[in-house]
């Protein structure tokens, strides 16, 4: 019975957390992350008209489309710079949540996930720059993801050393980043 209650509680907590995260991403006036979701929506709007990947047997087509997409995004955001999406106010909130995950009772697990995910370090990333093809992806702590705004498909949070990165996964492009966000 105790086990049943534990499972039920965990399931409810999980669903609630998922729901909360989705709500954050869709509520522009959410005080926690400011207008982050609006800025993401603006990025998606800009990207909507650009070429998209599709399933193929030919890796060359995937690679060519990725390069074309990345170039098209660069041209559509010629003046993109660090802080366009992660404004100082939004960055502050992200840093608060991220650091909170490294301080709570679950902190050893969060650190372990990153350590086990073969952390990427020593890479200098820039907005509109490519996430290098040969680089692995540091495994993202799932309990931290539960506390961050949910992102739409094709965009993901990445951890690169101590930097917190917003990546266009299809274009493998850096959309924005918060240097030194991770302890």
């Amino acid at each position: 019975m105790t086990r049943f209650l534990q499972i039920t509680f965990l399931s409810i907590a999980l669903i609630a957390a998922a729901g909360a995260a989705q709500k954050v991403s869709r509520t522009s006036e959410n005080p926690t992350f400011g207008d982050f979701s609006q800025r993401i929506d603006q990025y998606l709007k800009l990207r909507k008209a650009l070429p998209h990947e599709r399933t193929t047997k030919h890796q060359k087509e995937i690679t060519d489309r990725r390069h074309a997409l990345a170039q098209a995004i660069r041209e559509a955001r010629p003046g993109a710079k660090q802080g366009d999406i992660f404004t100082p106010e939004i960055s502050e909130q992200f840093i608060r949540v991220i650091r909170g995950a490294f301080e709570g009772a679950n902190a050893p697990n969060v650190r372990k996930t990153i350590r086990q995910g073969e952390p990427v370090a020593g890479v200098h990333l820039t907005v509109n720059g490519a996430y290098p093809e040969h680089l692995p992806t540091t495994t993202f702590p799932p309990t931290l993801l539960l506390r961050l705004p949910l992102l739409p498909d094709k965009i993901a949070y990445r951890i690169v050393g101590h930097d917190f990165v917003l990546q266009d996964t299809e274009a493998r492009l850096v959309i924005d980043l918060i240097p030194g966000a991770l302890p």
Partner: protein
């Protein structure tokens, strides 16, 4: 180009890259109408050992005609150019692909998420997805980026599965005696409750470059097969989790499901069976 690679590529071209071995004994029942598959993980190196495992798989396929392969992540290490995809996937597994064997990939931390668009990986543009084979439903998860959306999707998919068997596979092992990484405890904290709630019976993972079969944990069977290309020699520090393991060489796993029985056989690069057995589908007792 190093002379070793020149010789290897020449042997590949001539079809002599893997030395002939006595065909492996098939310990699986090979029952008519059964669901048959192989599992490989951490394979995409393009190095000779990956080709040798692929050759053993082909030989085994002749006696145990599995119809598909689940890929447990780190499918393509390093570069992802068209030449890389050929060297690290298309060439080693060509005979199996030509024989109609399908590959269903899960993403690892060394993979590019755009591998989901590569048709041979059968991901249909999705980072996580499910598919059904007979009375088995498979759930390929992206454990590298397990967000609330994926968890909500998994919960719905598990609830609606409608099959006797539910099998999940992904890159990071929830239970492992590997010395390099060990168990992914944080992932476990979010995935295991769903597995228990919806009666997942078997889980396959990679990441640790060894083979391990874990003793049932809360009634769920866990396999790690992360040595189908890479290897961490001697890295399995057997613990009280370990039911069986192998870290002396590369390996792959073959599986057959017939009715309520799942049989498995792990085979090394040299064609030796390093583990085998069967599992009776656990009866889920809901309180």
């Amino acid at each position: 180009m190093p002379i070793r690679r020149v010789i290897f590529l020449l042997l590949v071209t001539l079809g002599l890259h893997a030395w002939p071995l006595p065909a492996q004994d098939v310990k699986l029942p090979v029952k008519e109408g059964s669901v048959r598959f192989a599992a490989i993980g951490d394979m995409g190196t393009g190095e000779p050992a990956q080709y040798e495992i692929a050759q053993r798989m082909l030989e085994f396929h002749q006696k145990f005609p599995f119809t598909f392969v689940i890929m447990l992540g780190d499918n393509i290490y390093g570069g992802k150019t068209p030449a890389d995809l050929q060297k690290k996937f298309e060439i080693p597994y060509k005979p199996l692909l030509d024989a109609g064997v399908q590959f269903y990939a899960a993403l690892g931390n060394h993979d590019d998420t755009n591998e989901r668009f590569y048709k041979f990986f059968n991901m249909n543009g999705q980072q996580y997805y499910s598919f059904k084979k007979g009375n088995v439903k498979f759930f390929a998860l992206d454990s590298d980026y397990l967000d609330p959306k994926e968890l909500a999707w998994l919960e719905k998919e598990l609830a609606d599965a409608g099959t006797d068997w539910k099998i999940c596979y992904f890159h990071h092992p929830l239970y492992s005696s590997g010395a390099f990484h060990g168990s992914s405890t944080e992932l476990r904290s979010v995935l295991e409750p769903l597995f228990l709630k919806y009666g997942v019976q078997v889980v396959f993972a990679g990441h640790e470059h060894v083979y391990e079969r874990v003793k049932p944990q809360k009634g769920i069977y866990y396999f790690t097969e992360g040595a189908s290309g890479e290897l961490r020699l001697g890295n399995l520090k057997k613990t009280n989790l370990t039911a069986a393991g192998y870290d002396k060489d590369r390996s792959f796993l073959s599986v057959e499901i017939s009715g309520d029985d799942l049989s498995f056989q792990a085979i090394s690069r040299t064609g030796v069976t390093v583990d085998s057995g069967s599992i009776r589908r656990p009866v889920v007792v809901r309180p």
